[in-house]
Symmetry: C2
Subunit: 260 residues, 2 copies
Amino acid sequence: MQDSFSGLYARALAELKKNLPEFSWEQEQVPPGPIPVTNTTAASITGLIDHTALKPGTTAATIKQLCAEALDYHFYSVCVPPCRVQLAAGYLSGREVKVCTVIGFPHGTATKLVKVTEAVEAVARGADEVDMVLNLGALKERNLRLVWEEIQAVKEGIGPGRILKVILETSLLNEEEKVLAALIAVKAGADLVKTSTGFAGGGATVDDVTLLRRTVGSSVGVKASGGIRDLATALAMVRAGASRLGTSSGVQIARELTAR
Amino acid sequence: MQDSFSGLYARALAELKKNLPEFSWEQEQVPPGPIPVTNTTAASITGLIDHTALKPGTTAATIKQLCAEALDYHFYSVCVPPCRVQLAAGYLSGREVKVCTVIGFPHGTATKLVKVTEAVEAVARGADEVDMVLNLGALKERNLRLVWEEIQAVKEGIGPGRILKVILETSLLNEEEKVLAALIAVKAGADLVKTSTGFAGGGATVDDVTLLRRTVGSSVGVKASGGIRDLATALAMVRAGASRLGTSSGVQIARELTAR
């Protein structure tokens, strides 16, 4: 993979220098080898999970149950729709479980103004983390400035101390677009890059997580999401470099762990 | 169908009177019989089409082609993502084809503030019509006031002379919820009720269009959308009471018409 990755990375850097010349992209070096992933044991994997309920029509009762499960199983966070942030933040007030929501979700076709408004309102209502979908059309037509501006504006909007994840929707991107998107996200202030919304017909793959981890290096996180429904898949994602897992099967995964 | 419809309608009215007692729901009478639909001939059906390109990752080139096709085939409008409204409005400036976009799309889980902001920005950038997704979770837990407030606020936001369609996502609703949603939408100012986003795994059905048309009567429109890919389906929807058709297969439908 080294050779093809170097080529991809070089092509992405050339695009970035052309479209966003004011940044010094050179400082982003191709990592010299495999990135050492966190030494996550199976026992600690539940602490990486964003316990997720994002289906349209999700009710208050489901959010309540989600929060209770997150406390019981010590998941990292609950990931809820924007209209449920306040409810979840109420249930989790003063507790260790974080509140995460989604921005421009799941298509990423909202405008910058709307993404920023949604993110600012979310943190005002108690969100600790926001997962925004980048503008896929802009990425594909190499309007990289717009991609960068949206991410940067959301990062600025949520303020310091809150976490921004940028959803790339890898199943809709080619390899060069994945590298491009990840590099722009990091430069614009993303704390993690995230593979998938779970609503585009494709989820996280080991190959994509590996590619993203190599691209962003060790200082930025990688969230694998979409199609993670059992412990084996969760562990494979962590071994490939994921530092966070988005899944609605957290309870199933935790129970598999207990049964081992 | 008369009997079961009357029962559904009565149950929906009882819910509405309980949750939104300040409105006079009694004035909404069950229509005495089948609603006479517009006498749409096959030849005029293209004029009912919202020519649609809403997939994530849709590029500027696709929007340009969509607008050109809408002009060529005399479709009613183009329906584009929020981030493409300005582009489409530029192509169609001074022409008869309208610009339509989507709000809170496709999950309907954005907050009221975000839906209103998105709608206001859309009309400021040239949208003539907005198709908003209602809050499905709120509907399901019978938080009917929130459902009403969001629709009313978006209607107020877009101002007079612009068209509001409310997407019910019928494939995720039971029969009573469909009637409830349609009645709330009409009361809150919707100009049309719309069956589907096209992204929830189910689209328009003849039964749902018939039900919605009976529910809203003749003074409000019904837009059938999702899965309309040929002329026969388009005609069936119109015969069932649809006054607008949302489809990405408008060119195919127009060509079938020419071939007849």
